[in-house]
Point group: C2
Chain length 211, copies 2
DNA sequence: AGACTGACTGACCGACGAGTCAGTATCGGG
DNA sequence: CCCGATACTGACTCGTCGGTCAGTCAGTCT
């Protein structure tokens, strides 16, 4: 599935299969709920073979996160395109961002999981880095919009960036839940959701008024 | 700490201590990472004693979620007050909602964890119920505002409700992360964050325009 | 006193977890 | 054809897990 295992596996069929299986299982069930045996079985190899490539379970987990982080970051940065007006850039970002989230749900959940961890900072820094980049890009788009006079000056770009990211993340995370809610009709149309969402946001931050 | 263990413990000092310890550990590390021994130690009793109150680990976890759910739901519904204008109600809700989230981080993380689980639906329904209630309340506030002509009619209440909830949840969840980001100055002032956030939102959905 | 009850414990069990190891299959280069 | 290295395996160790059990202890009712 084109995951960026190459970055951590330096070629090698077996290794890639391991990371792919681990990524799936870790994302679905979390670190502690997944045994090395389960990973091996899913990858179609023996458990001991995993230790040929990775010194221990933590290292494998780290490798998975690293590989996932690389591809996820690349994917999401793709969504950032600061050309055109701020409005255009925001619409473009929101739509692409959410679309990418939905296209690779496992990677996303892997990172959301990490963000929830309190005790052991297994790879918080890694998870953080990706989000920080994204956040910075978004803030920049908004700032440029402000400097150009396209957007109002009385709001904090970081605030709106947070709102936008939050809107997408919560949509991603509670999609199934929302689906059970009868009157919600944007559940299966992420583009609709994003378009409407950015419109509301823009009306709140655009310079002066129009319809 | 006033958690609603009474709902599941029918009095009894020991039982309450168990649930309290379990709540803390489960919230911090997740179901699989917490052993019965750890819970017993933290509660200051023997492991076997836990089985005097709960038939197995899953039952204990369920009880914790149930108790947490009860108190969390009560807490959050407190934030809902549909008296006054929609603007007032939204401001009131946002501030209280976030404040409650931040006041009981463990309960929140317990539920966010559950929302992430894919395979076993240990208690998804339970976690869902709370959110659904809240969501419905918010939607209603917005609908009333629309009917009264206070808010525009061209937006989906469910969409804005989602945005508001999302804004609060992401703030809660990535607070530490945001703190490392230099230019963000609303991190340690949730009220500021919420006031500004709702203002932007309101400007986007309020009928006609004003400053 | 004695019978009964619920809270509680230490010692134990089988299962399964991560990780090890001795050894086999495979394969490219000399 | 053999050699060394790399890919890979089954069988093992050992610690910890969830869960059980026989039994102690404090109180309470009669």
């Amino acid at each position: 599935m084109g995951n960026d295992a190459s970055s951590v596996c330096s070629e090698g069929e077996g290794c890639r299969k391991i990371v792919a299986a681990a990524e799936k299982l870790f994302a679905d069930h979390g670190f502690d709920a997944v045994s090395m045996h389960a990973i091996a079985t899913d990858a179609g190899i023996s458990k001991a073979n995993i230790y040929h490539y990775f010194p221990n379970k933590d290292a494998l987990y780290l490798a998975v996160l690293q590989s996932a982080g690389a591809s996820l970051r690349a994917l999401l940065q793709e969504a950032v395109d600061s050309s055109g007006t701020a409005s255009e850039a925001l619409h473009h970002f929101a739509a692409n961002h959410l679309q990418h989230l939905l296209a690779r749900p496992r990677l996303v959940r892997l990172f959301l999981r990490e963000l929830l961890e309190k005790g052991e900072p297994r790879a918080r820094d890694l998870a953080d880095a990706g989000l920080a980049d994204l956040f910075a890009s978004l803030v920049q788009i908004l700032q440029v919009g402000q400097e150009r006079g396209e957007l109002r000056n009385d709001f904090d770009p970081a605030l709106v960036a947070t709102m936008l990211l939050g809107a997408n993340v919560i949509f991603f995370q509670s999609r199934d839940l929302l689906r059970q809610y009868p009157t919600v009709h944007f559940v299966d149309r992420p583009e609709d959701y994003d378009r409407a969402m950015v419109e509301v946001l823009l009306r709140g931050i655009r310079q002066s008024s129009n319809a």
